[in-house]
């Protein structure tokens, strides 16, 4: 860990300005991912702006349109246990409790969870090439051990996956990420546009500008239907998804579905959802039409289909 300076701020605008004015600065909230990466010197911020004291970011409120506004600092545990979330947005609770461990969820925040970085093993070993960690050094994963990595939306520069669960549910719920920018103005980013594909800049995980602070995630009005989060992994708990399926299925068989563990962002193809009443294979044929798997992770394609089939069968049952 490199020496860094540390600052606590009281307002979102102050936080945004503090980071914006310092190219080496980063926000710190729960720290469950950032601090680990700092110890490994994969992240080397010169300055940390701790946002945990900011008032008003720690609550869950009803939104005017009947939806829900989740403050950036709401912990995973609080969010998953929230009565309204459990009642109206079950897919979100199920996704959150499928991730990490109780201790981590107590500390991890809503905003921070969206910003967690990939678990690609090559990203984690500073001796090895990785364009995300060290732009221009190459991608060791492309021809390497890629069992966990992306099957779609990847580039020749990077095949990392976004590792989280909560975001997959937010994607299926059409959430919106609210931010405050360094100039004090706010913006609302549709969830579909929040995480990026790696393209030629795999070091950029999302569309946030330097110094732009997430203040909340809002959920639209409840969708009804049955909510599912099926996470497929190598052990029963405390493992990243090989493939996950977040789905909301209506009684008539229509619905929405997003996939985790397959791409650099939560993967949802809205146009394919029309095929849900025809079954899983019809949906995934479209969702993964442009897949480019490696030899190690090709199994994720039939797995995604089968996992969705399991969800659809349960939705009927």
């Amino acid at each position: 860990m490199r020496p860094f300076t540390y600052q606590r701020v009281a307002t979102a605008a102050e936080a945004a300005a503090a980071v914006a004015g310092n190219p080496g600065a980063k926000f710190l909230a729960g720290g469950t991912n950032l601090l680990d990466l700092m110890k490994l010197e994969i992240e080397r911020p010169a300055h940390l702006v701790d946002v945990q004291d900011i008032e008003g970011l720690g609550t869950i409120e009803q939104a005017e349109d009947g939806g829900l506004r989740i403050g950036a600092l709401v912990t995973n545990t609080t969010l998953a246990a929230n009565e309204r979330v459990r009642r109206d947005y079950g897919v979100l609770t199920r996704a959150i409790v499928a991730g990490a461990s109780g201790q981590l969820r107590n500390k991890a925040t809503t905003a921070g969870n969206l910003l967690q970085r990939t678990r690609c093993p090559y990203f984690y070993d500073p001796n090895l090439p990785c364009n995300k960690r060290n732009p221009g050094s190459g991608c060791a994963a492309l021809e390497g051990y890629s069992r966990q990595l992306a099957v779609i939306g990847s580039s020749d520069k990077c095949i990392a996956t976004y590792p989280g669960d909560m975001a997959i549910a937010m994607r299926v719920l059409d959430a919106t990420v609210e931010t405050v920018q360094p100039d004090g103005t706010t913006r609302a980013i549709p969830f579909a546009e929040f995480h990026r594909l790696p393209g030629d800049e795999p070091e950029r995980d999302n569309v946030l500008a330097h110094g732009e602070l997430i203040t909340a995630v809002t959920l639209p009005r409840p969708l009804g239907g049955k909510h599912f989060y099926q996470k497929v992994r190598d052990r029963a708990s405390y493992a990243y998804a090989l493939v996950s399926v977040a789905a909301v299925i209506q009684p008539d068989g229509t619905g929405r579905v997003a996939f985790g563990g397959v791409a650099h962002k939560p993967w949802r193809v809205e146009a394919a959802e029309a095929a849900l009443p025809q079954g899983a294979a019809a949906v995934t044929a479209q969702v993964f039409a442009d897949a480019r798997p490696t030899e190690h992770n090709r199994f994720k394609l039939p797995l995604a289909t089968r996992a969705l089939a399991g969800v659809l069968a349960e939705a009927k049952g």
């Binding site: 860990m1 984690y124 051990y145 090989l242 089968r306």
Partner: protein, 739 residues
């Protein structure tokens, strides 16, 4: 005391304290976080030496080649840095006992994350930051990293598992002829993965010099070996080295030997003139130290229609660094089943991966994962129950030396009892028939088999003025319950309640014990304490003017004839002895046995495997403490589930390393993977093993488990996966269609 003849009746047979289900006497220290593990021996409560500094190890960033240059200027100037030792300023240290990797010194890099520097600083964070400032230039060389590619050139190993001597093959009868004629055969190739010990406590040491004398407070399974080894590596007289390792947070064989933490703490402490404390960082453990090597195994079985094996072939190929050993995966196959025509051997491929070395049940674990899967395949071809197939092929003698019997062998009882307890008769022999909603359910079983090794072990016992007892030995408790069973042994021998016995372990100044490894620790170290207690009983009786041969030690008293005295009447007395062994283990094969049973469910949609329940029925002589023994067995069973379902060090064959070198990437079972385990111990004391009539269970609990899980998966799915671990991708597309 030399143990040369079968044990007769002795005070242990009373079993007032031995054999009782006693909780760990060191349990409160562990549950309150006050047991002083190596890296915690600082500060006001546990401090062993003042003025400690922190060391941080830098591992090589290449797998093979040379360090061309190292620039330490920036690191040396970094805040808090006290000193740096680089590999270029140190001649290559002589090899330590049991190790072929270079621990430290010289420019040559022989494997990834080989230690190339240690940085000492006032704080851990300062040492770590400075280590990352060292700039290293390498001359890279090509290495050999892919076992499958290397296997065709692998050579048959000698009898010691190396490539030095004559190639060794067991060849009994005419295997080829018998296999060709056998009406029912199995011939298949199987693989097991490289595995990491992944013990909770990483390698950790504190080193301090006092003139010529070095003390290392460390985490190590084998104190006497490691004291000599460290002395040799550092060019010191053994009497100038002291090791102390009272608590060990798991080792699984990784801590049999001296590793870079102890060596670099010693070198670093010398450099900076202060004690140095090092805990090896988790991402370094897998590649810097050792692992269980992957294997490619072939099994060919020929049998008559009634299931009798007529032809038996088991061979295995594994890799290791130059000079390293083969993974002895076919070792147990020499003794497990009767078959008149036998061919058994191992091949070794020289490679440039990190060192392969002992990990819990070395050889047996991967060997039985394979052999016991092949037996399941044979049972199916025969249309025979897998339990019955094992029973039909049981042997009471060494198949290579029929004149040599097993001292005790009740495998058949293990299997029959297990089948009954587990409800094996409810298993549908036809695979893929049992459904529970979306789950495919199956049962599997396997034989567990591990030898019991007799090895000398010493202890000292001190009778205190108040009639209490202190036991001192360099024996280690690696989480196994050694403190408790040694206290039970001494209490039983001296007729004292358990709380009147204090046990001190892990100090190399105390008598040399068997140490902890190869499941030999419990039986031999208790026998050493037994020997010392016999001597002390004699000394006490003589002091009290009683006949030592008839004196009875009970309830804190000594009684002979119509006289009795309190133990404390003898005053302070001390006795030291060791157990040594004659050739009973040559005359008799001494082994432990288990029947492992497992029920799994496989998600018919996703292929995920979930273990429902497991049972082990174990025969291992007298069980010294059913509570701690059970802990050992269920720990082994858990590790077996890991081997079967998820544990795999992933090799990057271009860069030559295990890529998933942390506990997020290398998955071991979590609680949710292990819902229900049952352990049954059979009561068959082995009077030819040792005075305790006991044998080990620490590895027996693992041996065969992987195959029991794999066979249950096959029974559930009808898909046979011969490459461990059986991750869902390997059977997914062969499962029933769902979409």
């Amino acid at each position: 005391m030399k143990f040369e003849q079968a044990a007769g009746t002795n005070p242990i047979d009373r079993q007032k304290i031995i054999g009782q289900p006693t909780s760990r006497i060191d349990g409160p220290l562990k549950t309150t976080g006050t047991a002083p593990y190596a890296h915690e021996r600082h500060g006001p409560n546990h401090g062993v030496v003042p003025n400690q500094s922190y060391g941080y190890i830098l591992g090589a960033g290449i797998a093979k080649g040379r360090v061309a240059s190292m620039d330490t200027q920036e690191a040396a100037r970094a805040p808090g840095v006290l000193g740096i030792v680089t590999t270029l300023e140190q001649e290559l240290l002589p090899p330590g006992q049991g190790i072929v990797a270079n621990i430290f010194g010289g420019a040559e890099i022989r494997h990834y994350h080989q230690a190339i520097a240690v940085v000492m600083a006032e704080t851990f964070e300062q040492a770590r930051a400075a280590a990352n400032m060292i700039r290293v230039d390498y001359d890279r060389a090509d290495g050999r990293f892919d076992l499958a590619t290397l296997a065709p050139q692998a050579r048959v190993a000698d009898e010691s598992g190396k490539l030095k001597g004559e190639p060794f093959k067991v060849e009994v009868g005419d295997f080829a002829g018998a296999f060709a004629e056998a009406p029912v055969t199995v011939d298949a190739t199987y693989t097991t993965a490289d595995e990491s010990h992944a013990m909770m406590e990483p390698f950790a040491s504190i080193a301090a010099w006092e003139g010529e004398k070095l003390t290392v407070w460390t985490s190590n399974q084998m104190i006497a070996w490691s004291k000599g080894s460290l002395a040799k590596m550092l060019g010191m007289k053994p009497e100038n080295v002291r090791l102390d390792s009272p608590f060990i947070g798991g080792g699984f064989g990784a801590k049999l030997w001296v590793r870079a933490d102890a060596v670099l703490a010693a070198l670093g402490a010398k450099k900076v003139g202060r004690p140095v404390r090092i805990a090896m960082q988790r991402p370094l453990v897998a590649n810097n130290t050792s692992h269980r090597p992957a294997t490619i195994q072939q099994v060919k079985l020929g049998a008559t229609p009634d299931g009798r094996l007529t032809a038996f072939h088991h061979s295995s190929t594994s890799g290791n660094l130059p000079g390293g050993d083969v993974e002895v995966a076919t070792q147990q196959s020499r003794l497990l089943y009767a078959a008149p025509n036998r061919e058994i051997f191992m091949k070794l491929a020289v490679n440039d991966l990190p060192e392969g070395n002992a990990m819990r049940a070395p050889g047996e674990a991967p060997g039985l994962m394979v052999l016991e899967m092949a037996m399941d395949e044979l049972a199916e071809k025969l249309g025979m129950d897998p339990v019955e197939l094992r029973i039909v092929n049981d042997t009471q003698v060494d198949p290579e030396k029929p004149e040599r019997p097993f001292s005790e062998r009740h495998l058949v009882e293990c299997l029959r009892r297990g089948a009954e307890e587990f409800g094996w008769n409810r298993r549908n022999p036809k695979p893929a028939q049992v459904r529970d909603g979306r789950w495919l359910v199956g049962m599997g079983m396997a034989t567990g088999f591990r030898n019991s090794m007799a090895t000398k072990s010493a202890a000292r016992v001190r009778l205190q003025r108040d009639g209490s007892l202190v036991v001192e030995t360099d024996m280690t408790d690696i989480g196994t319950g050694t403190y408790t069973i040694l206290a039970q042994t001494a209490a039983e021998m001296m007729g004292l309640p358990l709380d009147r016995v204090t046990v001190r372990l892990g100090d190399s100044d105390d008598p040399a014990s068997a140490g902890s490894g190869g499941q030999w620790g419990a039986a031999n170290s208790t026998s050493g304490v037994y020997a010392a207690c016999v001597k002390l009983r004699t000394a006490i009786a003589e002091k009290l003017g009683m006949d030592p041969t008839t004196a009875d030690f009970t309830d804190g008293e000594v009684r002979a004839g119509n006289r009795s005295a309190r133990l404390s009447d003898a005053g302070e007395l001390m006795a030291e002895d060791r157990i040594e062994f004659g050739d009973l283990d040559k005359q008799y094969q001494q082994s432990t046995f288990a029947g492992h049973f497992c029920e799994v469910a496989v998600d018919s949609y996703t292929g995920e495997v979930r273990v429902h329940r497991m049972l082990a029925v174990c025969e291992a002589g007298r069980i010294l403490n059913p509570v701690t023994a059970r802990s050992q067995v269920i720990g082994g069973m858990t590790m077996g589930v890991g081997s079967a379902l998820m544990e795999e060090l992933a090799v990057d064959t271009r860069f030559g390393l295990f890529v998933n070198h942390d506990l997020a990437g290398y998955e071991v079972p979590v609680h949710a993977d292990i819902p229900h385990q049952q352990v049954i111990f059979l009561d068959h004391p082995d009077d030819k093993a040792n005075p305790l009539k006991a044998k080990g269970v620490g590895e027996l609990g693992l041996c065969g488990v992987g195959a029991a899980v794999a066979n249950a998966i096959y029974n559930a799915t009808g898909v046979r996966v011969r490459d461990y671990p059986i991750t869902l991708d390997k059977h997914l597309e062969k499962l029933p269609q769902v979409a």
